[in-house]
């Protein structure tokens, strides 16, 4: 069943000797009892059900695939309680520091004055928003929803791969995958104590209400979507529905007397908290991109006056930029006076000539990413790339080195996964969703993405990755 030729990456289910790890034993036992045909039936059932529910994903630049299913794998990623405690503490610590950092950057720049982060890294960064300078946001919270990508490598140690602090998506899959597993295999959940995640929308609503403008006692929350043709539309609609709030588009909103309103059948209704799922650039055509039809003219001025809260705040991209990522451990030490509980992946900055020359000499073994890129586009995975691909990428890199960082190719941990030929290990990552409201909290779980192609390390759904349910075990 297991491929033994290549050096083994860390497998979440089996140890190096092929024995089932303790936290997977109850599941392995159950799996063994299942007739293979039953699993085939359940897989078909899951597919059908996702289609009926309409949990589909639009892929850009792909006419035929305008509504595609993200493959769902039936073998869950299981995380033992002790590992989760570490992750939870590390993630909360990290997001606290990131919130402090963004607040600092848009106020007194202490971290720059202390010489920990060079000023050009902050102020020359295209993600820095001068409009945010000096603006007070409730609770000093900026990244109300953070998706922190965590991987396991080597002997099983955790690394933070990247911080997503703008409009991280995927949480609906965390919830729907759980619902699907419970629907398909209810008996599993009576055998194994899995921490629930279904209360996420409540946590989210609670966090969003907690940061409403001070003078509003029954704050009105709305989810702002670019519309039904956006790839994550399902998620926007899903979250709005689960929270019981309106799902709005830019055309549904308008600004009058420095107040944000939505157009309803009973006339204008004031909006206090806007959970936006569109990028900064499109929020307000008067302030940012003037050709944007997705946003609301005048929104920024209402925001600056403190009469509406935008979540996530404008300008958080500065902190999740891949060139800022390198400084996060220092931020934790600087703002919290603590040692980071979760490590960063080592990193080379191509903007530095010495580091660039190392990267150019080792392209075949490194992962090179665009500093501002997202979604697995514009990256090179050296070991998996052809000679021609590497040479093409080298040209781009030399032309604009500051646009790239490089990391060692981590042997991401694997989880057994259903593939054409049966069950085989496939690489996974994990995106827990960290909420910043009254406090920094997170549900015990996350979105587990799996690279379905053998050996592939790219788990993004836009690149053909799949998902698994993630189980955090309770003690």
């Amino acid at each position: 069943m297991r491929d033994t030729a290549a050096p083994q990456p860390y497998d979440e289910m089996f140890d190096a000797d092929g024995r089932v790890r303790p936290h997977y034993q109850a599941f392995a036992q159950w799996l063994q009892e299942q007739p293979p045909e039953a699993i085939v039936t359940k897989r078909a059932e899951a597919d059908l059900s996702f289609r009926r529910v309409g949990i589909t994903f639009a892929v850009y630049g792909d006419e035929a695939g305008t509504e595609r299913l993200i493959p769902f794998d039936l073998i869950p990623r299981i995380i033992p309680a002790a590992d989760w405690r570490l992750l939870q503490a590390g993630l909360r610590q990290r997001v606290r520091a990131l919130n402090r950092f963004i607040h600092d950057i848009y106020h007194d720049h202490e971290i720059v004055k202390a010489g920990i982060i060079p000023p050009e890294q902050v102020f020359m960064n295209p993600q820095y928003r001068p409009e945010m300078q000096g603006i007070q946001v409730p609770g000093d919270m900026y990244c109300h929803v953070a998706g922190i990508d965590v991987v396991r490598a080597g002997q099983g140690e955790f690394y933070v791969l990247e911080d997503n602090l703008r409009v991280p998506s995927g949480v609906s899959y965390m919830l729907e995958n759980r619902k699907m597993m419970m629907r398909l295999f209810p008996e599993l959940f009576s055998r194994i104590r899995v921490a629930p995640v279904e209360h996420y929308p409540d946590l989210l609503l609670d966090s969003l209400r907690a940061v409403a403008p001070d003078d509003r006692n029954a704050p009105v929350v709305a989810v702002l979507t670019p519309g039904m043709y956006n790839s994550a539309y399902f998620e926007h609609a899903f979250l709005a529905q689960q929270m019981g709030v309106e799902l709005v588009e830019g055309q549904d909103l308008f600004v009058d007397a420095n107040t944000l309103y939505m157009r309803t059948t009973r006339g204008p209704r004031r909006v206090d908290v806007l959970y936006r799922r569109i990028d900064d650039d499109f929020l307000d055509p008067l302030a940012f991109r003037s050709d944007s039809v997705l946003g609301v003219p005048g929104l920024l001025s209402v925001y600056r006056a403190g009469r509406v809260v935008i979540a996530n705040a404008i300008g958080t991209g500065l902190a999740d930029d891949k060139s800022t990522y390198i400084y996060v451990p220092d931020m934790i030490r600087f703002y919290l006076g603590e040692e980071p509980l979760l490590a960063n992946v080592p990193c080379w900055r191509c903007s530095r000539p010495d580091e660039l020359s190392y990267v150019l000499a080792h392209l075949h073994e490194l992962v090179v990413k665009e500093v501002h890129g997202a979604g697995g586009y514009g990256m090179l995975v050296g070991p998996a790339a052809s000679r021609a691909q590497i040479e093409a990428f080298r040209a781009q890199l030399v032309a604009n080195p500051a646009n790239y960082i490089a990391q060692p190719t981590l042997a991401l941990s694997t989880v057994p996964t259903y593939v054409e030929s049966g069950i085989a290990p496939r690489h996974v990552d994990l995106r827990p969703y960290v909420l910043s409201g009254r406090d920094v909290t997170l549900p015990a779980g996350g979105l587990c993405r799996v690279a379905l192609t053998e050996g592939s390390l790219v788990v993004n759904s836009s690149q053909g990755g799949g998902t698994k349910d993630t189980w955090v075990l309770e003690d």
Binding site: R52, G54, A237, L247, E249, T265, G267, P268
Partner: protein, 317 residues
């Protein structure tokens, strides 16, 4: 509720209702076409289908012949015809997708499943061997959709806008159906008209198309007469697909969502009911049913425009 949401709800149920009524209309025409009759009469039924929907021009632009087969094809699975069942169900599903957050999971899944199932069925469908099987399916999905709305949705504005769309569409569609059926029946002046059994089948098919055949028997306990068929379909407030009943339902939904701005619209709807109340079967026949229905259809269209202006696309901020 967001105006855009109300707009999508309104149109979602209009499209579902329209798909159902198109299926009903095709069904009755198909049945009548099976009766022994002259080729001219037989093809007249299919002409009427296009006339009802005001689609003759569009049909002619893409067709050289006009047979039952052509019309069924055009009205069921022609994706380029915005009034085809396919296009209606696609539009309904698009609208539902735009507001799925306002629908219960069951309502959304019913609509989405209809669409998925339609795509699976239509391409290989042996449509012409037994079209009624497909029409039944469309009607059944519409029943299901209505039922799941009634059984799961909160009785708030959301249900009201859904109901408003469906009933306004029904008022329109029933009036058109009646208009065409009647024009045809009275046009049978070329000898075949005297054929009592043919007339009987025409009227009974019309009743069947609004699920009214048994109702007729129950209400009148008598043979089919044109004036009673008209009475049942225009004036009877208890007959779910009659004009009177559809207008009552429109008024009820409008009352539920009324705002200051919509008072004039509500007044207009009530005056439409008064227009029906003031009429009588004899009066209709004296004046001409077609004239009466033309006025009715104009008023319904005007109501649709006003609803749009009052709730769905508010002009002022």
């Amino acid at each position: 509720m967001l105006s855009r949401t109300a707009d999508s709800l309104f149109w979602m149920s209009r499209y579902i209702e329209r798909a159902e009524n198109t299926a009903r209309m095709l069904d009755v025409t198909f049945q009548v076409s099976l009766l022994p009759q002259s080729p001219r009469l037989r093809s007249q039924g299919w002409h009427s289908v296009l006339a009802i929907s005001e689609l003759r021009q569009q049909f002619d632009a893409s067709h050289d012949t006009l047979t039952g087969r052509d019309v069924i094809e055009f009205m069921t699975r022609d994706a380029d015809n915005p009034a085809s069942i396919y296009a209606c169900l696609r539009a309904a599903r698009e609208a539902a997708r735009a507001v799925r957050g306002s629908l219960t999971t069951e309502v959304w899944e019913t609509c989405n499943t209809t669409w998925l199932e339609l795509q699976r069925r239509l391409p290989g469908l042996a449509l012409h061997a037994d079209p009624r099987d497909f029409f039944e399916w469309v009607k059944f999905r519409s029943h299901l959709s209505r039922g799941v709305v009634a059984g799961t949705m909160l009785r708030d504005e959301t249900s009201s806008f859904l109901a408003l769309g469906a009933h306004l569409e029904r008022a329109d569609n029933t009036a058109r159906l009646l208009d065409v059926a009647f024009v045809e029946a009275t046009d049978e002046s070329d000898g075949e008209a005297g054929d009592a059994s043919l007339a009987f089948y025409r009227w009974s098919a019309l009743l069947h198309s609004v699920s009214g055949f048994e109702t007729y028997r129950k209400v009148y306990r008598d043979v089919l007469t044109p004036s009673r068929v008209v009475e049942l379909m225009v004036f009877n407030p208890a007959m779910p697909r009659s004009l009177r009943c559809a207008v009552d339902d429109v008024i009820r939904s409008l009352e539920d969502v009324a705002t200051e701005r919509s008072l004039e619209t509500l007044r207009l709807a009530r005056s439409l009911r008064a227009y029906l109340d003031a009429g009588s079967v004899q009066g209709l026949f004296d004046r001409g049913l077609h004239d009466f229905l033309t006025v009715f259809l104009d008023r319904v269209a005007e109501l649709g425009n006003r609803i749009s202006r009052d709730f769905l696309v508010p002009l002022s901020d």
